[in-house]
């Protein structure tokens, strides 16, 4: 049992056909599995340009990739986006700050709560209001649950993209549980509109602790199963180890953040580096690896699920009592009971939801760590109830560019693995 990797490698090298690639990125030497020998240099005079997508199932939506191929080898790849552009930044200029969260939550539909969080934090910074402690912890609980569901979605689709179709079912199994819990808390499975400027929309429901802890157990059990199914699986390793390698310098230059940057040995996580919410108050580890390949990005996301579970458990243990939204009447409507007995409260409620609240002039940029990397919100106000400019720095939008460093030189089939490992959400790329 001393060297399981070595034994597995030996077992696989019969017939002289299967040679596993070395584990480290250094010295990853591509060898043709079937014929042996080196990769030929690409013949640039005889290339073919084909489109992958925008309807290809492994492009996670409507991503189109123009690829210049020399036989099976990708010489260049250019992502073409915009197929899901719905002008959400323009829409954001037409909506009040009260309505804004409904709009931004639809951008990154796999982790909507991160979008709501970053928007709400930007509005709160312009308003210069503080959020009660309980609201902060509820937000942290929710975005971590959302990180779990987002990474589970990645595990499921990544598995399916690479041919481990059963992984789709397993990943979906636990994701479904997570979404059910989010539904019981927020009322919706996705696009929750739950984190709003000033706090959250409602308090946690009765019995949320038990449900959340049950989910934590189920997710941990599930992650153990994925680990058993994939991590040491020779076919899985063959498809992922040493594929789509990116270095730290390339990732930084191309604006990549999140798991892609962390997979290059660069332990940067905004939750740790520039703590927001109550992340400086909970224990968790920043997961990072050194090789920068598809396998590492799979592994980072797998173990980040467990770190999120750790944070969620601490939230259950330590959820402070108090109010779930600020009592600043400028942004928070009066309580329901007051509306029945007070005309002024009714008017106040009506004004708040028809006209919204005014935000002092100014501009700000707020960034948080979404499951995909740094999501930022650049918000400009002119003192009215609608923003002059609402810009979301979508991590997928930038991460997609890191394909430039990963795809060329690899096989066509590797491109599928690489796109999958970037985990782009096209709703956020195109906005």
């Amino acid at each position: 049992m001393s060297d399981p990797e070595g034994r597995r490698l030996e077992a696989q090298t019969d017939e002289g056909a299967q040679q596993l690639r070395p584990l480290s990125a250094e010295g990853v030497h591509r060898e043709l599995v079937m014929t042996g020998g080196e990769w030929p240099e690409p013949d640039l005079d005889d290339t073919m340009i084909i489109n992958m997508g925008p309807q290809h199932p492994s492009t996670h939506g409507v991503l189109r990739i123009m690829m210049e191929l020399d036989s099976e080898m990708v010489v260049r790849a250019k992502p073409v986006i915009g197929y899901l552009h719905t002008g959400m930044e323009k829409t954001g200029e037409e909506l009040t700050y009260v309505q804004g969260a409904t709009n931004v939550t639809r951008m990154d539909y796999a982790s909507p709560l991160s979008n709501e969080l970053v928007f709400s934090m930007a509005v709160e910074r312009l308003l210069d209001i503080d959020v009660p402690r309980r609201a902060t912890w509820i937000r942290m609980l929710l975005v971590e649950l959302n990180r779990i569901s987002s990474h589970l979605l990645f595990q499921a689709t990544n598995g399916m993209d690479l041919g481990a179709v059963s992984m789709m079912i397993y990943g979906w199994r636990e994701r479904e549980l997570t979404l059910r819990l989010l539904e019981s808390i927020t009322g919706l499975r996705m696009n929750h509109n739950f984190i709003r400027p000033g706090g959250v929309a409602a308090d946690l429901p009765d019995g949320w602790q038990r449900d959340t802890l049950d989910l934590c157990d189920a997710v941990e059990r599930g992650v153990g199963e994925y680990d058993t199914l994939l991590t040491q699986n020779p076919i899985w390793r063959e498809r992922t180890v040493g594929v789509g390698v990116i270095t730290t310098d390339e990732a930084l230059a191309l604006g990549a953040t999140g798991p892609i940057l962390r997979s290059t040995g660069f332990a940067w996580d905004l939750r740790r580096a520039q703590p927001y919410l109550a992340y400086d108050d909970v224990e968790f580890d920043v997961i990072y690896t050194a090789n920068g390949d598809v396998f590492d990005r799979y592994q980072i996301r797998l173990y980040e699920i467990l770190e999120s579970v750790r944070i969620v458990r601490q939230c259950v243990d330590r959820m402070p009592a108090g109010d779930y939204r600020t009592q600043d009447r400028k942004v928070t409507p009066p309580p329901r009971a007051r509306i029945d007995e007070s005309m002024e409260a009714l008017i106040h409620h009506f004004k708040l939801f028809t006209e919204g609240f005014r935000v002092p002039p100014g501009e700000t940029y707020v960034a948080v760590e979404s499951p995909r990397g740094e999501i930022g919100c650049y918000l400009v106000s002119d003192g009215t109830a609608k923003p002059v400019r609402l810009h979301i720095r979508g991590p997928s939008f930038y991460n997609l560019q890191s394909m430039d460093a990963m795809v060329p030189g690899g096989m066509f089939a590797d491109a599928v693995a690489i796109v999958s490992s970037i985990d782009p959400i096209m709703g956020e790329v195109d906005r």
């Binding site: 915009g82 604006g255 700000t364 650049y378 003192g383 810009h391 930038y398």
Partner: protein, 186 residues
């Protein structure tokens, strides 16, 4: 907690002498016409348009700003209350870039004013290739061109689109929505 009068006074002084941010102070020292402001606690520097590329190169080369996170723009055509610090001549567009320094764990935002009659600014893609998509997006939605960008084409809108949607004078419902039974275009 100081009372309001002193914080206001301190804030006004910040406009004169930026002391609370070393990078901002060094930048104002280094580049003529750069103005430092503290926007809700975040360091922001307004720089002249012709210094745009030099500032980015200086931040990257000498101040360890490892990543250009974002390039975007704002159209201030119909602002009711525009805030421009003293010493900056307001133009219609602002191009905004966010930089992050991992080793120093700090951010800085650089803003430049871009006039209507010449909506152009230098591209940062040679320093930071990741700015490519962002600059294409700004070109696509605002019509601001980036000199030196290798592939300045539309990115989100269709290639044959006319107009720049995020400009404030671009009518949102210019293209009629043809739902069945729709009484009239908005």
């Amino acid at each position: 907690m100081p009372d309001d009068d002193t914080t206001d006074a301190a804030r006004e002084e910040d406009h004169e002498v930026p002391v609370d941010d070393e990078v901002g102070a060094a930048l104002v020292e280094r580049f003529d016409g750069a103005v430092f402001v503290s926007s809700h606690g975040q360091p922001v520097v307004y720089v002249p348009r012709d210094a745009w590329h030099d500032v980015a190169a200086w931040l990257q080369g000498e101040q360890q700003f490892t990543q250009c996170l974002d390039v975007t723009a704002v159209d201030h055509l119909v602002d009711e209350a525009r805030i421009v610090p003293a010493g900056v001549e307001a133009e219609r567009y602002e191009v905004v870039a966010n930089f992050l320094s991992h080793p120093r764990n700090r951010r800085i935002r650089v803003i430049t004013e871009v006039p209507t009659d010449d909506p152009a600014v230098a591209s940062l893609t040679d320093l930071s290739p990741g700015a490519s998509f962002a600059e294409r997006e700004v070109y696509d939605l605002f019509g601001i061109t980036f000199a030196g960008h290798p592939d300045l084409t539309r990115i989100l809108m269709p290639d044959d689109w006319v107009g720049f949607p995020l400009r404030k004078d671009d009518a949102p419902a210019r293209v009629p929505v043809t739902f069945k039974g729709d009484p009239s275009p908005r």
